[in-house]
């Protein structure tokens, strides 16, 4: 048993202990050290360590006094820890005898004036820790915060379909169940390759993937799995070589969704875009099934199908350090990253599960594989935990997953390499609890808000979901700073006069509307999709009207194009100049802030290293326009 931490809880009951003493002493005493009450402690009898008590002596009790009391009480006392220094005087005592004796003994000990408190020793297991002997090798489960998540959910009863090479789940014909799937719940699946009801594994891949989702856990055998009380549905769509056709897989997706699967795991990919499979994925999701797919192992900037289809959660892989694995594909369609292993750093950096030997499918082995196939079932497993813990539909599951994912260091939200970030099972369960209240808001706003709440310490989280969150004041602040800069660069004669600028509604209103959107609408109208959209900055709002919700920021809009247009207009109509100036300075603020905040992924610009110079250049153009517009005209 390796308890992650066992806490010895010692609570002083100074008030009770001091009750026998003169009142003056009591007052002094309670000034000298804080007092605690016990009522907050759970009275959990199973947490009591048998034959052990905690005694807290008054500070300054000498060693000789301890020893004398030890003999008098018949208890073997030992200082609990040295952290507080020599005079911490909290001791742990061992005594012979039953639980009834314990109560009497404690009563007796409390009467001693040297004692501040005495109580049973309690042990708190910090989190559920499975007893599987090789659990310690599963760095991947620690990385996604599984122990804390297991305190909340084990995925009980949620059906997870594994569309793969099959699962070594039954003793049938020459097939044998692998030992660490013994006791795991299975529901009837289907073998689409051999057309029968026995979706056994003749390859090894599918059993490994199934193990990550629901390996028998806390059974004293092998390793653990993410959602070990979930129900696995074995669906064989790949042959003994690990390949299968679009037609077969599309059939299987619909079949699984029709037979009660809440989650479909597809650690497979390749081939071209298939209309048939795309509509199968859409069908499953509409039926309430979360479809989780591997992003691919090309190491390049394109996500494979089916991960790239809309409605599919696409998963990239990271190694033990949390850095993207070298083989992992990445790109615009990426949603989330999960541990997939990186065996270039040694076999222990792979994902270890129980599967069948690739050379002999009747033999059980524990093997460490790497791949986005290994990352995918982590996400599928956590999706099962979320369903078991009250998620009502794929929307909620995905929101909880994405909002709680941890972006890599230095990034502020969605990136092409990690999607919304690294999977965090415990945080996802917490995020799920918060969803109900914000159900009406559009997805990216909810994700942005959850990011913000989850990591308030990091100031930029509202930037998380490809567009700004509602009423983000930072672009406005940037615009203000840039305005000051522009005004300072203007010569005395050209300067329009600070007050004039700031209080000209023709200038100020466009600047505010550009950077903040109609920020005040939320105070006068109920929150719905329309009003929330209106509180977005102008480029995001425009982008949403033209290109639809959730689309990537468009470089046409995220550029100096609109201010340029306004300024051309202002050449003809002079009174329009302050308006054009306000729009230009607003855009300069947004673009500069976007660049500084590491930019949303711009559609058509595949690399962030191109996006940032693009934004900076356009911000400079906007500044130039703003300066020209604000300049007092030479008379």
């Amino acid at each position: 048993m390796n308890f992650r931490a066992s806490l010895v809880v010692a609570v002083s009951m100074a008030v009770a202990a001091c009750a026998n003493q003169p009142s003056e002493d009591v007052a002094l005493h309670s000034l000298a050290r804080p007092t605690y009450e016990t009522r907050d402690l759970p009275d959990d009898h199973s947490a009591h360590v048998p034959h052990a008590i905690v005694v807290d002596f008054r500070d300054g009790t000498t060693k000789a006094e301890f020893d004398a009391l030890e003999t008098a009480w018949g208890v073997d006392l030992e200082l609990a820890d040295q952290e507080e220094g020599q005079d911490s005087a909290i001791t742990v005592g061992a005594f012979p005898g039953s639980e009834e004796d314990e109560d009497a003994l404690l009563e007796r000990i409390r009467k001693n004036p040297e004692v501040e408190a005495a109580e049973p020793l309690m042990r708190y297991q910090a989190s559920f820790t499975p007893n599987d002997p090789d659990y310690g090798k599963q760095w991947n489960l620690a990385q996604i915060n599984m122990p804390k998540a297991w305190d909340v959910s084990h995925g009980k009863g949620v059906i997870v379909a594994v569309l793969d090479t099959g699962i070594a789940y039954e003793n049938y014909d020459e097939f044998k169940q692998v030992p660490d799937l013994s006791g795991v719940k299975f529901t009837e699946g289907y073998d689409f390759v051999n057309q029968d009801r026995h979706a056994n594994d003749d390859h090894g891949h599918g059993t490994h993937v199934a193990g990550t989702i629901a390996q028998a856990t806390n059974n004293g055998e092998g390793v653990a799995g993410v959602a070990f009380e979930a129900t696995l549905m074995p669906v064989k769509v790949l042959d003994f070589n690990g390949s299968g056709s679009t037609a077969t897989i599309s059939d299987a997706i619909r079949w699984a969704a029709d037979h009660g699967a809440k989650v479909i795991n597809m650690s497979l990919g390749g081939g071209g875009r298939s209309q048939v499979m795309e509509s199968a994925v859409a069908y499953a999701r509409k039926k309430g099934t979360v479809v989780v797919c591997a992003a691919g192992n090309t190491g390049r900037g394109n996500v494979e199908y089916p991960a790239a289809y809309p409605g599919s959660v696409s998963v990239a892989a990271v190694g033990p350090t949390g850095e993207k694995a070298p083989y992992s594909s990445w790109g615009k369609e990426l949603d989330i990253a999960a541990p997939g292993g990186d065996t270039s750093k040694g076999p222990e950096a792979g994902i270890l599960q129980n599967t069948i030997d690739r050379r002999d499918f009747t033999k059980s082995v524990y093997e460490a594989y790497q791949g986005t196939s290994m990352a995918t079932p982590h996400v599928a497993g956590v999706a099962a935990l979320l369903f078991a813990n009250g998620a009502k539909n794929p929307d909620q599951v995905e929101k909880a997953l994405f909002a709680s994912a941890k972006p890599p260091q230095g990034a502020r939200g969605w990136t092409e390499q990690y999607g919304n970030g690294l999977l965090d099972a415990s945080a996802a369960l917490k995020a799920l609890k918060k969803l109900d209240t914000t159900e009406l808001l559009p997805l990216e706003v909810q994700v942005a808000q959850a990011h913000h709440e989850a990591r308030e310490a990091a100031p930029m989280e509202t930037f998380g979901a490809r567009t700004f969150g509602p009423t983000d004041w930072k672009p406005f602040a940037w615009a203000g700073a840039l305005l000051a800069f522009v005004l300072l660069t203007l010569g005395r004669k050209e300067r329009p006069g600070y007050l004039n600028v700031l209080f000209t509604p023709g200038f100020l209103v466009p600047m505010v509307l550009t950077t903040l959107g109609v920020f005040f609408v939320k105070w006068v109208a109920p929150a719905n999709e329309l009003t929330t959209s209106m509180t977005l900055p102008l480029p995001d709002w425009l982008g949403r009207i033209i290109f639809g919700r959730g689309s990537l920021a468009n470089p046409l809009i995220y550029s100096a194009a609109l201010p340029l247009l306004a300024s051309l207009f202002a050449i003809k109509f002079k009174s329009f100049r302050p308006v054009a100036g306000g729009i230009a300075i607003g855009f300069a603020g947004i673009l500069a802030y976007s660049a500084w905040a590491h930019a949303p992924a711009l559609a058509w610009l595949p690399f962030t290293f191109l996006a940032i110079p693009f934004l900076v250049a356009n911000a400079l153009v906007c500044l130039f326009i703003a300066r020209a517009m604000l300049k007092r005209e030479a008379v």
Binding site: D164, T165, H203, G204, H205, L238, N241, G242, S243, G244, S245, T246, A247, I249, S267, L268, G269, G270, G271, G272, S274, A294, G296, N297, T298, E304, Y305, P306, Y327, S329, T343, R358, Y369, Q370, G371, T372, S373, M374
Partner: protein, 71 residues
């Protein structure tokens, strides 16, 4: 189509043979026979890209070799 490149074994998933094409793309090796499985060998292959098959490897398009010459 004709594909020139280098045979390689990639340790992802359960391991997969690929052709690293001179066109800069990586193709999953399919078809042909076991004599093709020589790490580092140069190959001139004739075959087709199979867009209709998915698999566990996900290392790139599947290239089904019909005939080949090792060099």
């Amino acid at each position: 189509m004709k594909l020139n490149g280098k045979i390689a074994f990639k340790d992802v998933e359960t391991g997969v043979w690929v052709i690293e094409g001179d066109d800069g793309k990586t193709y999953q090796l399919a078809g042909g026979d076991r004599k093709l499985l020589k790490e580092g060998a140069r190959v001139e292959a004739d075959g087709e890209v199979d867009d209709d098959t998915l698999g566990i490897a996900m290392v790139g398009p599947r290239f089904v070799v019909k005939s080949y010459k090792l060099r």
